[in-house]
């Protein structure tokens, strides 16, 4: 009994086990539908469990504006678990309601309805026949890409407008660079460099649909042919850059001389010896005073030194003079002139005070001191303002006694200024002319050193000069001013 019970239980169990593997099929699921050219479309589903029994699937659809339920026209063309709707069965802009039914011996299972409109499921095939061509140009190579539109797409009738996109990557990197090609089936890449392997892919889009898959990869290697030319051009450019920099540095270092060369200073007008500032500051009287030459033999003349080789200005003070022994070019004078001589470096200021001071000094000196050195200031005859006295020379013919001089008849014209040649160590004496007999006879005044006093006649200078003992055998030169200058000469007798 027990045995029978156990056997029955076992049978029941096995029967139960066997019967659970066979069941109605599971529910299939519609995955997606796709139209590659907006004229046909295909739908795919995923079957559920088959329940251990052979299961068949059927797709049924209903359509907007169409009565009835219809079955899929073509299960085979698109592969397993698919349904292909050809042109006759495809209507755009209408809703389709699809369901898939799985059935086996034990039952059926129906998927959820799937609503779609062909307008929404457009996704083209990938473009085909992608070819790459390398064009080797001088500067840089360029890559030409060509492809064909997907074979099943009709782009000629205007039904769909196709757009392309391509992407490029270099060597094995994962960085793709994308480019849009519009409606053209070719594209040129210029940013390629030699010595690399480039991989290109293309995809397309219809109207407002979805992008296709990327095409098969095509790659090309660009050869390395441009390496030689680079270093030479680089070398040349580096050398020229160095040259430019050096030239620039030299210019900067010598910018002053360059500036002088480019823009030479314009010389302004200048009269030597005249300080334009002082001229402006001083009154016109002073200028006039300065320019006038005193009638009496003057200790002080005014100097225009530019034509003088040798000129002196007189000072009564020895110490003053001793400071410049050889070249007494110091200006005593006066008011508004100052030296601008080459020999004299120091500029002495001209003040009114100096003038007076000098007068003072010279007056004092005249009374007391004999002149050791004499000289006089020359002036240039050419100046208009100056009241120039013409100086003529007469040559001494014969000296009769110590106070009579015979002159030659003809007068010797002077060059226009009183030229004074200094010779070292030769004292100069002046003798006063007592009387001029005829035009060739001059009588000199005999003098003693004690007799003659340095009178202040307003001509300081010359009176004192007479203190000097007159030496015989001296030649004299006659001058208009009445004084005879002495020049050492070989004795007449």
């Amino acid at each position: 009994m027990r045995r029978d019970l156990r056997g029955a239980l076992l049978l029941l169990l096995t029967a139960a086990v066997q019967s659970s593997s066979m069941s109605a099929p599971g529910k299939p699921v519609l995955l997606s539908c796709r139209s590659p050219e907006k004229e046909t479309f295909t739908c795919w589903w995923e079957p559920g469990s088959d329940g251990g029994l052979p299961t068949t699937h059927h797709l049924y659809y209903e359509r907007e504006r169409l009565e009835g339920t219809y079955e899929c026209p073509d299960y085979l063309s698109a592969g397993r678990n698919s349904c292909f709707f050809d042109k006759n069965h495809t209507s755009i802009w209408v809703d389709y309601y699809l369901t898939v039914m799985a059935s086996n011996a034990l039952g059926n299972a129906t998927s959820d309805p799937f609503k779609m409109d062909v307008m929404e499921i457009v996704k083209p095939d990938a473009p085909g026949n992608v070819t790459l061509r390398v064009e080797e140009r001088e500067a840089s190579p360029c890559l030409h890409v060509r492809w064909m539109p997907p074979s099943n797409t009709d782009t000629k009738s205007g039904w769909v407008t196709i757009k392309y996109e391509l992407r490029v990557k270099k060597d094995n990197s994962n960085n793709w660079k994308e480019y849009t090609s519009g409606t053209q089936t070719h594209f040129s890449l210029y940013s390629v460099s030699p010595g690399g392997v480039y991989t290109v892919q293309v995809r397309c889009l219809l109207d407002h649909g979805s992008w296709s898959e990327w095409s098969n990869t095509t790659f090309v290697k660009i050869s390395n042919y441009l390496q030689n030319e680079r270093p030479l051009s680089m070398l040349i450019s580096i050398l020229s850059a160095i040259l430019f920099i050096m030239a620039g540095l030299i210019l900067i270092a010598k910018r002053k001389s360059v500036k002088q060369w480019v823009l030479p200073p314009v010389p302004g007008p200048k009269i030597r010896g005249i300080n334009s500032q002082l001229l402006q500051s001083g009154g016109s009287d002073d200028v006039g005073n300065v320019l006038i030459i005193k009638q009496s033999f003057p200790p002080i003349y005014f100097v225009w030194e530019d034509q003088m080789e040798d000129y002196l200005i007189v000072t009564e003070n020895e110490d003053w003079l001793s400071s410049n022994s050889q070249k007494r070019k110091k200006s005593l004078i006066p008011a508004c002139f100052h030296f601008d001589s080459e020999i004299h470096s120091k500029e002495s200021p001209c003040h009114q005070n100096d003038w007076e001071k000098d007068e003072e000094i010279s007056q004092v000196d005249n009374n007391n001191k004999p002149f050791t050195n004499t000289g006089y200031v020359d002036f240039q005859r050419n100046v208009e303002n100056v009241d120039v006295k013409h100086v003529d020379y007469s040559r001494v013919k014969e000296v009769k006694s110590d106070n009579i001089i015979f002159l030659e008849k003809e007068k010797v014209q002077s060059s226009g200024y009183i030229h004074f040649q200094r010779q070292e160590g030769i004292p100069e004496d002046y003798s006063r002319v007592k009387e001029v007999e005829s035009d060739h006879l001059v009588v000199l005044q005999k003098q003693n050193a004690a007799d003659l006093s340095c009178k202040d006649e307003g001509n300081h200078y010359t009176d004192c000069a007479l203190h000097k003992p007159r030496k015989p055998h001296v030649c004299t030169e006659l001058s208009d001013s009445g004084y005879v200058d002495t020049i050492p000469a070989p004795p007449l007798m």
Partner: protein
């Protein structure tokens, strides 16, 4: 003095009048009709390109708005069986595929396009009004609705110009009735579009704008085929 002032002001007034009269069409040069002087003559090819671009843009905007609505309102997709969505333009017979569109006569096709455009004039206007009053939608959506409304208007004018030009050139016969009296084309027995919900309205318009775009392209490539086809 007052005489010169008056003359100057008169000149200004005349100038203003001239300028305002010239500014009838914004943007592009006015298209000539029946031998106007001084306007820009466009070829049929150009005209077609313009309206096709316009229709493409209009369809793009309607798609955007529709997807936005889908996000907000998530209409239930769990209805089994046919959903009774009926667009108010469903009474207009339209070719449902490429072959049908190519087989249709040019005049018929032009008329279909115009019927569609005219049928959408009022619904879009009201849709825009309701969008403006609803505070759920942001300004972006509201602007798109307004733009859509304007574009339908402009596109219809453009297509009318194209049809006129084709008639002038003798490409199509003068049997296009929509040009004469547009009100005839309004569907009389269709479901009232006022009953349509906003989402359905957008769905229908998205479909119809796509139709218009495709029909125009087919028409162009039949009449003026060139590399753009």
């Amino acid at each position: 003095m007052p005489g010169t002032i008056r003359s100057v002001s008169l000149v200004w007034v005349v100038l203003l009048v001239c300028l305002s009269s010239r500014r009838t069409s914004v943007g592009a040069a006015p298209i000539c009709t029946n031998g106007q002087v001084g306007c820009h003559v466009l070829s049929l090819d150009n005209l077609f390109d313009r309206v096709i671009q316009h229709s493409a843009r209009m369809h793009g905007i309607s798609s955007d708005l529709h997807s936005e609505f889908e996000q907000y309102f998530l209409p239930s997709k769990n209805q089994i069986g046919r959903v009774g969505r009926i667009c108010h333009t469903s009474t207009i017979i339209t070719p449902n595929g490429k072959e049908n569109a190519q087989r249709m006569a040019r005049e018929q096709l032009t008329e279909v396009i115009l019927k569609l455009l005219i049928a959408w004039r009022d619904p879009l206007w009201h849709f825009h009004q309701s969008m403006a009053h609803h505070h759920d939608f942001n300004n972006f959506s509201s602007n798109k609705a307004l733009e859509m409304n304007d574009m339908v208007h402009e596109l219809r004018q453009g297509v009318e110009k194209v049809a006129e030009k084709m008639q002038v050139l003798g490409i199509i016969s003068n049997s296009v009735t929509s040009l004469a009296s547009p009100e005839v084309l309004l569907p009389s027995d269709s479901a009232d579009w006022r009953l349509m919900k906003d989402y359905d309205l957008l769905y229908c318009f998205r479909r119809d704008s796509n139709k218009v775009q495709n029909y125009l392209k087919i028409l162009k490539c039949r009449i003026v085929p060139n590399h753009g086809c």
